[in-house]
Symmetry: C2
Subunit: 113 residues, 2 copies
């Protein structure tokens, strides 16, 4: 199975874009990151979750939710809140969160047939 | 000057998220990519533009605009349209575009003082 971008869901849906630059402190980060993946993927309102990080540079994570209530559940999750607090203390040099409602989307998939 | 994520702008603003997986065809891609950067950065309604690509994997580009008219100007730019057409023919295995209005944003910057 090759990598695919998350598809164009049916609008309206909610999109949270988290951009970040990390510190050099990696202690506990991979484990927490894996656990956060588990938690967000268990959210019944999650449509998709994807991220990219240029080595040594900027990371961008996008979470797609059916509605604002589903995003609120993720935001208010206690393990997630503890992870964000630990992240501000240790793992992130800086980050920005943008929460938006998607009004339009479309996708393209190459026809290799 | 170290890398920084785009800051939290004052909502509402428009965010276009373009996620993609590339083909192996790189012919002309870096030059066109650089030219597209030039064009979008000349857009007076552009607030910010950032991207990350995991080597061999998913690329995520986020463009932040003051309003939908500014985004429309970018979408309708003829060089941009030609580049997208060429991209579908040669450079992209698949891509998705999500266009949204940002309702809430916040940022964090570490205090290294």
């Amino acid at each position: 199975m090759s990598i695919q971008p998350a598809p164009a869901y049916e609008p309206p849906y909610v999109m949270a874009v988290f951009t970040s630059v990390r510190t050099r402190d990696d202690t506990g980060y991979p484990e927490t990151n894996a656990r956060m993946n588990e938690i967000v993927r268990a959210n019944p309102g999650l449509l998709g979750y994807e991220s990219a990080r240029t080595p040594g540079g900027l990371g961008i994570t996008v979470a797609y939710f059916r509605d604002h209530d589903s995003l609120a559940e993720w935001r208010e999750n206690l393990e997630h809140q503890a992870a964000m607090k630990h992240g501000r203390a240790h793992w992130y040099e800086s980050y920005t969160l943008h929460v938006a409602t998607v009004e339009r989307s479309h996708g393209f998939v190459r026809d290799n047939g």
